[in-house]
Amino acid sequence: MGALRFILRRLAFSVALILGVSFILFALINAIGNPIQILLAETPGVSEDMIAALSKFYGVDGNFIDRYLSWLWAVVRFDFGTSIVYNQPVGDLLWVYGLETFKIQLPAILLSTLVATAAGVIAAMRQHGWADFSIVSSAMLGHSLPGFLVGILLILIFSYWLGILPSYGAYSTRNLLMGSVVVDGLWHMVLPVAMLTVFNTATLTLLMRSSLVDVLRQDYITAAWASGLPARRVVLHHALRNAFIPQLTYLGTLFGLMLGTAPVTETVFTWPGLGALYIAAIQQLDYPVIMGETMIITVMLVLATLLTDIAYVAIDPRIRLA
């Protein structure tokens, strides 16, 4: 029961947070003034009436509170308005670009978690040995390498020097690889996913190893050894389960970090995802897109945090039964 209340409180807080972000952003954008006005102010042949009509169409006229509330009302019904630049429903844009972003981010997180867990276990079990030292050193380096540098290096090596992997776009503009959209798409995914995986794996490995080292020191692990259980069982069933709990929060943070730095990732590889959309929208003051996308990203982050909180409750009986 305490757990349920905890989750409900988190939910309420999350909603308040989303509303807060939307309000602040709306206010900021409002401070610039009418974007239509700004965009078309110097254009010859554009009359005040046209600006007024366009403003009304795009919902940028009227007073602040009215606009905010009508925008909010629309959003709740999943209507994010129309993009000023692309002249398409923002929702459609978010969906299409969003898919591309997740195409590279989800595999990156899955891959990183797997590799990091394995590396962390090896390093923790062979503490102070050669394997531990090399894993920790590589992880420290990978953790400090800026993402874009990794991307640049990957492009230099695999695209320019070796010429075996593409360096931009999600698909080839002509001649799909092996004539298949799927294969061509996967081929293009390799480098961006690799770039994302490096940092994630490095950071997760360091955390996993340190968490595991702490857990392995505990009395209940010694007790498990003393009961004659095999190494596989002690490490995987007893130690890893306990060590993984603190990783859960970090996975949520990591997801947020990846999504938040999508603009960088997608600029390096000219990948048509949410990040690229966002940059274009900011530069061209496509304010429905800016609002819509910021909201969606915030909502996703909030959801990720909420999910990790729920996972915590599910896994740790101490919290569940408190």
Binding site: Y220, T222, A226, S227, G228, L229, P317, R318
Partner: protein, 335 residues
């Protein structure tokens, strides 16, 4: 030496050293003791005497940077220090089991009691899950836990300290081991619970004809539970004898000082004897262990040679051995 029966457990020349960044700490430096079948051996010493490390070393559980550098641990005909990991895993929990000092941390917090107990049973004996649950419930009842079936579904944090320790004992007894290692089993418990747990242990060893090694710093505990007592100091054994002899006629200066420093309810500490006797000084720094007897700088009877020569254990009387130059022990290098 311990009697007519061949010992169940015979530890010879055990040395456990910690290789730290600052040097080698010789925590256990040549320790011998035996346990006969059905007997309880109490190992006493202050913190830092190496008693816990010794008991962990028996099952090769001492964590790195500890390393067992010498010795033999003969148990049921095998030297445990020379067995493969696989063989050791078969002995642990099945022939020799351990209970730990801190009940709060010796149970896995995210698994239920039932899961933790049945897992061990199923690993060692391969029985079905239901059979394992039944046996676990049986053992919980044996250690005095009420409503065992309900307890099996509970998690460690839902139990009291005393109950957790009982669970720990039940866990150790699952496969009816021949030898139980108890490392300060009552130190972390309330005094009233301590008495209950000790009673339980006494009853169990009787019922199951089990041998026990009881590691503790509490003389009261060994007085009650131990048949024989080994006194350790700074990684070495000072004296070994049966309990009555240790308490009534101790020979080693450390043992004597230890007993003298115990507050006694039948002594008066007012008037002339106002001060509680204690042993002056501090235990030696095991990083830079002195070459001679470890106790020499605090020993009221120390002679100049005690500083240079490490005494070797020798038999003073049947079943009573002492390691002290002043009691006639030869030096370590002597033939």
């Amino acid at each position: 030496m311990a009697g007519q029966l061949a010992p169940l457990l015979a530890v010879e020349g055990l040395k456990v050293h910690f290789h730290t960044r600052d040097g080698v700490v010789r925590a256990v430096d040549g320790v011998d003791f035996q346990v006969a079948p059905g007997q309880t051996l109490g190992i006493v010493g202050e913190s830092g005497s190496g008693k816990t490390v010794s008991s962990l070393a028996l099952l090769r559980l001492a964590p790195p940077p500890a390393r067992i550098v010498a010795g033999r641990v003969l148990f049921e005909g095998e030297d445990l220090l020379r067995q493969s990991d696989k063989r050791l895993a078969q002995i642990r929990g099945r022939r020799m089991a351990m209970i730990f000092q801190n009940p709060a941390t010796s149970l896995n917090p995210i698994l239920s009691i039932g899961q933790q107990l049945t897992e061990i049973l199923r690993w060692h004996t391969g029985v079905s899950r239901q059979a394992a649950l039944d046996r676990a419930a049986e053992l919980l009842a044996l250690v005095g836990i009420s409503d065992p079936a309900a307890r099996l579904r509970q998690y460690p944090h839902e139990l009291s300290g005393g109950m957790k320790q009982r669970v720990g004992i039940a866990r150790a007894l699952l496969c009816e081991p021949a030898l139980l290692l108890a490392d300060e089993p009552t130190t972390a418990l309330d005094v009233t619970i301590q008495a209950q747990i000790l009673d339980l242990l006494a009853e169990l060893r009787q019922r199951l004809a089990m041998s026990m090694v009881l590691v503790t710093h509490d003389m009261g505990v060994v007085a009650r539970m131990a048949d024989r007592i080994t006194v350790m100091y700074a990684g070495r054994v000072c004296e070994t004898a049966d309990a009555a002899t240790i308490f009534n006629a101790p020979q080693h200066p450390y043992t004597r000082a230890l007993l003298q420093s115990m507050p006694r309810i039948d002594h008066s500490y007012s008037g002339a004897r106002r001060v509680l006797p204690s042993i002056a000084g501090r235990p030696p720094d095991l990083l830079h262990a002195p070459p001679g007897c470890r106790f020499h700088d605090r020993c009221p009877e120390a002679a100049p040679e005690c500083r240079r020569v490490m005494p070797r254990e020798h038999l003073l009387a049947p079943g009573h051995s002492v390691s002290c130059l002043r009691r006639g022990s030869p030096g370590e290098d002597a033939p």
